[in-house]
């Protein structure tokens, strides 16, 4: 608590007593919550960044409270990596009131603010391009407002046409050498993975200006979360980053558990660790395999996908679905593993390790691969921090940061594993980091399999988890309990939480506001690849189109979590 107190005092000294309207501690001991006025946000953000080392702007969320005096609220999450401190700033304001944009302070603010404008209708002053980002350009209204019906579709007939602002033309120049071509890639293009669209101005094959368009897979996760009960949201979270589904639903359940203030049993935590680390391995396999396909190396793809298939077979044995497992429940996990599963998993780890070595051997010293990946898509440490990179992309740019080490959860502090770091920041480093991380993840799974304790896999609380089926069919108490829990849902107390886990792509955050009912008031996801992809325009400028394809592959942008 000491730190929060100091920070508030220093803020008041530097910017005046009136700057903080209200402050309080949250359920996270490393976090401080402040409420300020709209006009002060830029001053406060600059102070936090320059004097207090809060270099990361993790997220901006908009929340709508229709019955409140000030119905709209902007919620900022700042992060100080060196000291592992977080600050959450809330700005309640009136309809139409403008908030100064944070784009000059944090580059990551650009897309976050556009998203808050698009879905919630928050207005930001001096934003360079405050346009819709997820919904289509002819969409009317703001979808996440409480008065916008979840089922009201708005049809679009023609796709948006882009154009760049014209360059100044010198009449003496020869148009043949000075005029530039503009090409459109995607959304249906093999290199754009189906759902991204870029628009490049090119000179020869060099990209001079670029523009990215997302939202082609905006399937309204956040609105669906508001119209469903807490436990019904779990299958939706699977479909965020569908390459590593267990990581999403365990991240979500962890957030709700923090809201409820419960700790899940040790065995459940171990099962989550095993599922998560296996998911991390296959997520990296998909990333490397698809990038290799984009580069023309088809055989690597077969190697990667064969092992992914084996992991899916294991998942299917544990929880009945190969890909979108939904194994996690609020308060534990739903499946339990037995000795046969464990020995199969151990055998598979050996095989995966061989495949990782094979893929490493196929690519790492491959001349074509090195030529395509080295020094392309270079992201400096400074830039990575400004854009709030997390996960492998940040570690490839020379920052050793992993939430599993910084703020261990689920016994991660008891496992022996390394966090690999590389300095180059290019595509090759991002690829190499993934290979190294796969090996570490396999080590964690092995340790977890050795150490997993016996015991229950769900907390014993009738208000949170369903009774066993045998009880439900034989006992009226259990039947009533089952019935009520399904009808009314889990009811966390009033409050809010920002919870985060280290997913395959970086920090996966869930900001949940509970109003005490069975339905969440607001669920905001901080997808790790959203800020990473927001830097894409800047990273690919000056490079070749072919390099941009490699960069997109190694950013590992997953449309499901990018567009939600």
């Amino acid at each position: 608590m000491e730190y929060q107190f100091q920070l508030v005092t220093q803020l008041k000294e530097a910017l005046g007593d009136g700057v903080i309207e209200h402050h309080e501690k949250t359920n996270n001991p490393n976090e401080l919550l402040m409420v300020i006025k709209p006009a002060d946000i830029r001053r406060v953000a600059e102070f936090l960044r320059d004097s207090k080392n809060f270099k990361f702007l993790m997220d901006i969320a908009g929340v709508h409270y229709p019955s409140s005096e000030k119905p709209l609220e902007a919620v900022y999450q700042f992060y100080n990596r060196e000291q592992n401190k977080r600050v959450r700033i809330k700005i309640p304001h009136l309809e139409g009131e403008k908030i100064p944009s944070l784009c000059p302070v944090y580059k990551a603010a650009n897309w976050f603010e556009r998203e808050a404008y698009d879905l919630m209708g928050l207005q930001f002053e001096d934003h360079p391009n405050l346009t819709r980002i997820l919904c289509h350009h002819k969409f009317e209204g703001h979808a996440l407002r409480k008065d916008y019906p979840a089922t009201k579709n708005q049809v679009l007939d023609v796709p948006e046409v882009f154009s760049f602002p014209p360059l100044p033309v010198n009449p003496d120049d020869d148009p043949l050498t000075t005029q530039r071509n503009v090409i459109n890639l995607g959304p249906s293009h093999p290199a754009t993975h189906g759902t991204f669209r870029w628009y490049c101005e090119i000179e020869g094959e060099t990209i001079t200006r670029a523009k990215t368009e997302i939202g082609y897979l905006h399937r309204c996760f956040e609105k669906m979360a508001e119209t469903h009960k807490y436990q019904q949201i779990i299958p939706y979270t699977d479909r965020l980053n569908y390459c590593s589904a267990p990581m999403n639903n365990s991240g979500y359940c962890r957030a709700v558990e923090q809201l409820l203030g419960i700790e899940v049993p040790a065995r459940a935590q171990y099962i989550r660790v095993i599922m998560n680390e296996l998911a991390r391995v296959i997520d990296h396999f998909v990333c490397i395999g698809t990038t290799a396909v984009d580069m023309g190396a088809l055989s690597t793809f077969w190697y990667c996908f064969t092992q992914r298939e084996n992991v899916y077979t294991l998942f299917e044995k544990l929880c009945g679905h190969r890909m979108l497992t939904s194994i996690t429940r609020i308060g534990g996990v739903f499946g339990d593993l037995d000795d046969a599963w464990k020995s199969e998993c151990r055998a598979l780890i050996k095989k995966i390790r061989e495949t990782v070595d094979e893929v490493d051997g196929l690519l790492s010293n491959n001349k074509i691969w090195i030529n395509r990946m080295r020094d392309t898509g270079v992201v400096s440490t400074q830039m990575a921090i400004e854009y709030a990179y997390t996960g492998p992309a940040l570690r490839a740019s020379g920052v050793q940061h992993d939430l599993r080490k910084v703020e261990p959860y689920w016994f991660y502090d008891t496992f022996d594993f390394e966090v690999p770091v590389l300095k180059e920041g290019d595509n090759y480093a991002r690829y190499k980091i993934r290979i190294l991380e796969q090996r570490e993840s396999l080590r964690i799974v092995e340790q977890a399999l050795d150490r997993i304790p016996n015991g229950p896999t769900m907390v014993n609380d009738p208000l949170i988890c369903l009774p066993p089926k045998s009880e439900v069919y034989s006992n009226i108490e259990a039947l009533m309990n089952h019935f009520m829990l399904i009808i009314e849902g889990v009811k966390p107390p009033k409050g809010e939480v920002y919870s985060y886990t280290e997913a395959a792509n970086g920090e996966l955050g869930f900001y949940i506001v509970s109003d005490g009912t069975g339905y969440p008031h607001r669920v905001k996801v901080r997808p790790p690849c959203f800020p990473i992809y927001s830097s894409f325009e800047e990273v690919i400028q000056g490079g070749l189109i072919a390099d941009a394809v490699a960069t997109l592959g190694q950013f590992n942008v997953i449309a499901g979590e990018l567009d939600r």
Binding site: C135, N153, P187, G194, T195, Y216, C220, F305, M323
Partner: protein, 181 residues
């Protein structure tokens, strides 16, 4: 000396041109994977080494609509994506078939939401729906086999539509519309 089988004795057989062409078509489908979401990843597994859709003659994946005859819509189609899907369908040459993979493409799935198209049949005519979220690779292969059955019978919406148009033109005395084969 071994007796000759009837086919060896007389190594010819008669068939209709139509059936022959349908037979060739069904065994050489060139899919365009319009993969947008989770199903797109699962489609990769269908093409991958384990399930190997090449056994059914549908492995020549083409990303250009001009070179493909089977549109595999794998994944959620949003309102923003809908005109793109329509445009791609229109760019494909006849004869063409559409396979809707997964419940999102088929009906919107559990995304009853403001930005999700509630089934692609409002945009393109669908020949086969494969249920599942996402469907298992086995289900996708079954869908492809069902489509092959349909093609061999000459029984797809496009073919029926074409036959209808042709019959109507013939009764009106116009023979300019060629049969599909």
């Amino acid at each position: 000396m071994k007796a000759l089988t009837p086919l060896e004795e007389f190594p010819f057989f008669t068939t209709q041109i139509k059936s022959f062409i349908n037979w060739t078509r069904k065994n050489a489908l060139w899919p365009l994977p319009f993969g947008t979401a989770c199903c797109g990843i699962e489609y990769m597994a269908v093409v991958g080494a384990h399930y190997d859709v090449a056994r059914f003659g549908a492995e020549v994946v083409r990303f250009s609509p001009r070179q493909s005859d089977l549109l595999m819509v794998a994944g959620t189609i949003t309102e923003k994506m809908a005109p793109v899907l329509r445009q791609i369908y229109e760019q494909m040459p006849e004869p063409k078939w559409v396979l809707s993979m997964g419940v999102c493409a088929s009906s919107g799935g559990f995304y009853r939401a403001y930005h999700t198209v509630q089934g692609i049949q409002s945009i393109v005519p669908v020949d086969i729906y494969v249920p599942g979220c996402p469907p298992t690779p086995e289900a996708v292969i079954q869908g492809i086999m069902k489509l092959q059955e349909k093609i061999s019978k000459g029984d797809t919406p496009q073919q029926r539509l074409h036959e209808k148009k042709r019959a109507a033109a013939r009764t009106a005395g116009d023979s300019s519309i060629e049969p599909i084969e």
